[in-house]
């Protein structure tokens, strides 16, 4: 009796495990890719298409790789869980840390995976006025279009900032233990460009 019951139980367990894993894999696939602008051509209304494109770009803008260094306060966050940065560093006057605790002391020119430390020559926090943490996509959209809150950038500058800036590009090559931003930097840049060409319309809300 025991051996007769064993197979159905094992089979059920395996089926359950597979369904869980399949669902997990599917969700991972969905969250790690970006649709191209062409995917939205079927939306006839230009404003609605623009909004849809920005919403797709929002997968990048709201990803921990981006928001962690666009914090609402003076401390960066870290990890996929966006916990507060440890050790407890703060932005300082120029976003590169305090006089005695500069970002570059630990964050070198490139990722150092043995120490689990990400790196880039310009590692620093986004300015306080560019904080995205806790904001809706609509709020981030309005903010990203406002030169007073986007680092003095024109809309065309945003294509470069998101599409080719190497510090932003780190988000797609974050090193050990950190999930990359969805898609590729080139794809994100293409979405910004398409969003602007369709009127840079923001989502409602």
């Amino acid at each position: 009796m025991k051996s007769a019951m064993r197979f159905p139980i094992l089979a059920s367990a395996a089926a359950l495990a597979m369904s869980v894993l399949t669902g997990y894999a599917a969700s991972q696939t969905a969250s790690t890719t970006l649709d191209s602008p062409e995917r939205f051509i079927s939306i006839a209304d230009t404003g609605a298409r623009s909004t849809a494109i920005f919403t797709e770009l929002g997968k990048v803008l709201t990803h921990p790789r981006c928001v962690n260094c666009h914090p609402a306060g003076d401390r960066p966050h870290q990890g996929d869980a966006s916990r507060l940065h440890q050790p407890p560093v703060v932005r300082g006057v120029d976003g590169h840390g305090t006089e005695t605790m500069r970002c570059s002391i630990c964050h070198q020119n490139a990722n150092f995976d043995p120490g689990r430390v990400p790196g880039h020559p310009e590692w620093h926090l986004a300015p306080r006025e560019m904080a995205w943490e806790g904001k809706t996509l609509a709020e981030i959209c309005a903010q990203i279009k406002d030169p007073a809150r986007n680092g003095g950038r024109t809309l065309e500058d945003l294509v470069h900032h998101i599409g080719t800036d190497t510090l932003v590009g780190w988000a797609w090559h974050p090193g050990f233990g950190r999930t990359p931003a969805p898609g590729t930097q080139q794809e994100a840049g293409a979405l910004v460009d398409a969003w602007i060409r369709t009127g840079a319309v923001c989502p409602a809300g």
Binding site: Q86, P87, P88, T100, M101, R102, I105, C106, Q108, N109, F112, D113, P114, G115, R116, V117
Partner: protein, 174 residues
């Protein structure tokens, strides 16, 4: 492999090849046998691994070594706990640490010592008012963890060294 040329405690080492994934902490402790620099949390949170890095302009700062590659120190000059005593005589900070019984297990001591030394050198260049001293010391030592909770004793030891040479470190006495 990367070539590493470094000066440690005033002694320039012959350039040596190091693995790119080698941490500075392992280089000091395992390659050079300089075990005064500790390995604590391994995540730059306790700073028991901190060493002094000397800038060419005469300023200095502390850096953790547990999460930073040895190769990134190429061309730099650093000081470790082994370099503080001169001709067998402990530095003023080291003596004060002992007089205050600042440390018990001693694991955090080298990090605190290096941080306090950087503070002294900064104050010698940019003195602060006496009224600002307590906060200045607290800010400087902030981030260093002591599991034996010797924080106040470390603070008092550093304060004693500064007050003993107030003309050098405090603005009001210049």
């Amino acid at each position: 492999m990367t070539k590493l040329a470094i000066t440690i405690n005033g002694r320039t080492l012959n350039p040596t090849e190091v693995r790119d994934e080698l941490t500075m902490n392992d280089f000091l402790r395992e390659h050079l046998g300089m075990t005064g620099t500790k390995f604590g949390c391994g995540a730059a949170q306790c700073l028991s691994c901190a060493v002094i890095v000397d800038n060419p302009d005469g300023t200095s700062y502390t850096s953790p070594t547990c999460i930073v590659s040895a190769a990134s120190f190429d061309g730099k000059a650093i000081r470790t706990v082994e370099g503080h005593a001169k001709n067998g005589e402990l530095s003023a900070l080291q003596k004060a640490f002992i007089e205050h019984f600042a440390f018990q297990c001693g694991y955090c001591t080298s990090g605190f010592l290096n941080e306090a030394q950087v503070l002294l050198e900064r104050l010698a260049k940019t003195p602060v008012e006496r009224a600002e001293l307590e906060e200045t010391i607290a800010d400087a030592l902030d981030g260093h963890l002591c599991r034996c909770t010797g924080y106040i004793k470390y603070h008092e030891a550093v304060r004693d060294v500064i007050l003993a040479d107030a003309k050098r470190y405090l603005a009001a006495n210049k």
